[in-house]
């Protein structure tokens, strides 16, 4: 099947999205193509040649019924495909790796609960989020100020980072590599430059990477960062627990 401009991407759900994209596109090309041909045919065939008044036909109920019912059938077919992929994409299966992502003006902070790993970067410093391949990775997405968009093109996926809301989703990358990510929701002056990277590595490389944070300096940095994040979020939410709306 042709790709219709999209790409399969690097995760299991990005591939499902890509297939859904292909099915939608086939429908669009068929329906759009037929409609376009009808327009062009009508325009060319029925151009005015004299001063005739054509037959003043106004209704053809069977025909009108057909072009009401066929689109309804197409719509429900598209909706069925949508539900299948959507349920897959928004499922929160058991995960082995959890990453807390904090978006802020204008950068990203990635922390790994249960370890000292901390990655932090502003604008074009693009911090790198590292996680292992073929593993369900659970992302807790938050924002400490305005709304940001967590978007990785290779994952065919984006999700808002909202202040006061904990957004959760699961990624399962199927191939190693480094992928570019960027904030997609307008967040102020340096929105264009709010970059990050995702580096998908093998299990052993991931554990080796986590080990590099097992030294007193990194530990202190991680502790300080955790306190800072807690403070940032607590000024944002004085009394309430952050709510979880990851599923559906």
């Amino acid at each position: 099947m042709p790709s219709f401009g999209a790409s399969p991407g690097a995760t299991s759900s990005s591939r499902s999205v890509f297939h859904l994209w292909q099915w939608f596109s086939i429908g669009a090309v068929i329906v759009g193509g037929i409609t376009l041909l009808l327009i062009i045919w009508a325009v060319l065939r029925y151009r005015r040649k004299g001063d005739n008044i054509p037959k003043q036909s106004q209704y053809h109920v069977p025909l009108e019924t057909i072009y009401t019912i066929i689109p309804i059938i197409i719509v429900f077919a598209l909706f069925a495909g949508t539900l299948v992929v959507e349920n897959k994409e928004t499922a929160n299966p058991r995960t082995n790796v959890t990453i807390d992502v904090l978006a802020f003006q204008w950068g990203w902070k990635f922390t790994y609960p249960g370890s000292n790993a901390l990655v932090y970067g502003q604008t074009t410093q693009d911090p790198v989020m590292e996680f292992p391949v073929n593993t369900n990775v659970h992302i807790n997405l938050r924002s400490s100020d305005v709304i940001h968009g967590f978007y990785v093109h290779a994952f065919n996926f984006s999700r808002y980072a909202l202040p006061g809301v904990l957004n959760q989703f699961t990624i399962r990358a199927q191939s190693t590599g480094t992928y570019f990510g960027q904030c997609t929701q307008l967040c102020g002056l340096y929105h264009s430059l709010m970059w990050f990277r995702v580096k998908v590595v093998s299990q052993s490389q991931y554990h080796a990477w986590l080990q590099t944070f097992n030294n007193p300096t990194a530990e202190a940095a991680a502790k300080a960062a955790a306190t800072a994040t807690k403070q940032q979020l607590s000024t944002l939410v004085p009394s309430k627990q952050t709510s979880s709306h990851g599923d559906n």
Binding site: G32, L38, I39, Y59, P71, I72, F79, T82, E86, L186
Partner: protein, 572 residues
């Protein structure tokens, strides 16, 4: 009806006088423009103002496109860029598209199409215009403040739009300007509803109203349902900014996403508030220039009503990626809008089918609308599917989708200007320049939007001033910029056409052999529109009068012709 039948013999019909001559007691010149409550004068003011807004918004667009023609765009600064796209969107949506549709053309055409002497509330109508004009000036004056104009995008998402993140006066002027134009829209909505419900001429039943009037009536109802919500939201936003409330701020226990719910609860009906009038224009124009009645007239009306009904239940498809809305409900509701929209598309084709199509500029623009709207409509279906929305949300794919739609509306609006302009001014525009303008506009639109679809699929986010990370996007951006320049040339050609054709080609009453009542009176119409009216026995009274024996072919049971003996019914 019986009153008319029992009325004494009709008074002699006075000879038609050119418009406004009977008004010679009233002021003239600028004073007339400022004090008039005549729907045609107000409509013309709306037309001129909104086309100026189109040009201003277009200039912003050209600057944006030139900025994006290089990966490190350095024409404007990051801050200026944020102001530019914010004001481009705001001017085009709030100050051009809506006011042009339901302020300019609706004001001029709806009373004429239903045989009314004026809008129901003429002074309220004037107030709508002045609110709109001063709202526009208020919003644009942000550029003259120290902090610059509003820069939080035309959607003003909280908390970016609060006083900490956007402290300037430009943002307040944006809110104030939008409040004023919002009230202008609400008053126009009230006025249109009252006019259509109460001022229809004898014989003009609901199912004899032209589709344009039907669509404007439905638009007016949508305005009344949607705009007050925006107004309330703007007041809340202003209170958050200045009076210490915490409606949209997490720190005070508020909910930022609430703004998105409020905004899009207005914003999605707004999409159809913008589109339905243009659908109506195109429907009229295609029927007239195909010399046929609107195919599936009643289906068209029901399609419009169901689009309006569905449009109130789809707002959260703008919020799929927030993670806090019920995806399947908003997905199926959004997908279902494709059905009535498809019915409209096939009805338009059915109207042209076996017709005698006259390729006037207005008809070419309407055909351009069909093709461009087809592209925009089909790509919209993708965005109703949450997984595909996660993939394309906030990328240039979305930008390309709604620019296909709004450029289709611009084509439809131009069709409307070429079609109804002669009625209100009395003079035709030059058809040769018009056709050249059409090709620039139509080709420019496709050259402008198609690269944006590809860029979106390659991951280019919207509202970025540069794409230094992906310099390979330069080529597609350059093509798109070229398209934007072609569109700019077409706008210049339109202005040239107005200058070249100024009072040159007298239009006559009915230059297009059109169907509806506005073509029964003079061009321009007299102060109170009609000296006489034809019998109204279908949605095409002027056509029936001019072509007896060519009524629409019957379908099923047809009501027996009413027993009004005279060909003409004098206006009481």
């Amino acid at each position: 009806m019986t009153d008319l039948l029992e009325a004494p013999a009709p008074a002699p019909i006075p000879a038609p006088v050119p418009a406004h001559e009977e008004e010679h007691h009233g002021p003239t010149g600028i004073l007339k423009w400022m004090t008039s409550t005549d729907h045609k004068v107000i409509g013309l003011s709306y037309t001129v103002t909104s086309v100026i807004m189109l040009v201003i918004g277009g200039i912003f667009a050209e600057i944006i496109r030139v900025q994006l023609s290089t990966p490190n765009g350095s024409l404007v600064s990051l801050a200026q860029y944020n102001e530019l796209f914010t004001m481009h969107g705001s001017v085009m949506i709030y100050l051009f598209a809506g006011p042009f549709a339901f302020g300019a053309l609706a004001n001029i055409v709806v009373p004429l199409q239903i045989g009314a002497p004026d809008m129901a509330f003429p002074r309220l109508n004037a107030m709508s215009y002045w609110l709109y004009l001063f709202g526009s000036i208020t919003m644009l004056s942000g550029f003259f403040t120290a902090g610059g104009a509003a820069n939080f995008g035309w959607v003003a998402y909280a908390p970016l739009s609060n006083s900490i993140n956007t402290p300037g006066a430009g943002a307040d002027l944006w809110i104030g300007g939008l409040l004023l134009t919002g009230f202008s829209a609400i008053f126009t909505g009230v006025n249109l509803c009252a006019t259509v419900f109460y001022l229809r001429a004898p014989g003009m039943t609901m199912f004899r109203m032209p589709i344009f009037t039907w669509n404007l009536m439905v638009t007016a109802i949508l305005i009344l349902l949607a705009f007050p919500v925006l107004t309330a939201g703007l007041v809340m936003l202003y209170c958050d900014r200045h009076f210490g409330t915490h409606i949209f701020s997490v720190a005070g226990g508020g909910v930022p996403v609430l703004w998105q719910h409020i905004f899009w609860f207005w914003g999605h009906p707004e999409v159809y508030i913008l589109a339905l009038p243009f659908f109506g224009m195109v429907t009229e124009i295609i029927a007239v220039f195909s010399r046929k009645p609107v195919f599936g007239y009643k289906g068209m009306v029901f399609a419009t009503l169901s689009i309006a009904a569905l449009s109130l239940g789809v707002w959260a498809h703008h919020m799929f990626t927030t993670g806090v809305v019920l995806l399947p409900f908003f997905s199926i509701m959004s997908l279902l809008i494709a059905v009535p929209t498809g019915i409209k598309m096939f009805n338009w084709i059915g109207t042209m089918w076996r017709g005698e199509i006259w390729f006037s500029t207005a008809m070419l623009m309407a055909i351009g609308f069909l093709i461009t709207f087809l592209v925009g409509g089909l790509t919209g279906i993708y965005l109703a599917s949450p997984p595909l929305d996660f993939f394309t949300h906030d990328t240039y794919f979305v930008v390309a989708h709604f620019h296909s739609i709004v450029m289709a509306l611009v084509l439809g609006g131009m069709a409307g200007l070429y079609y109804w302009g002669p009625k209100i001014t009395g003079y035709l525009l030059n058809e040769t320049i018009g056709k050249i303008q059409f090709w620039f506009l139509f080709i420019g639109t496709q050259v402008f939007t198609i690269p944006l679809y590809i860029l979106g699929l390659e991951g280019m986010p919207r509202r970025v001033a540069m794409y230094a990370h992906d310099p390979q996007w330069k080529l597609l951006n350059d093509v798109s910029t070229l398209g934007a320049i072609l569109i700019g040339v077409s706008t210049v050609l339109f202005v040239v056409n107005i200058v070249v054709s100024w009072k040159k080609y007298p239009a006559g009453d009915n230059p297009w052999d059109a169907h509806t009542l506005e073509w029964f009176t003079t061009s321009p119409p007299p102060h109170h529109n009609f000296y006489r009216l034809p019998q109204i026995r279908s949605e095409r009274p002027t056509w029936d009068y001019n072509h007896p024996g060519h009524q629409a072919a019957p379908h099923g049971h047809h009501p027996a012709p009413d027993a009004v003996p005279a060909d003409e019914v004098p206006v009481p």
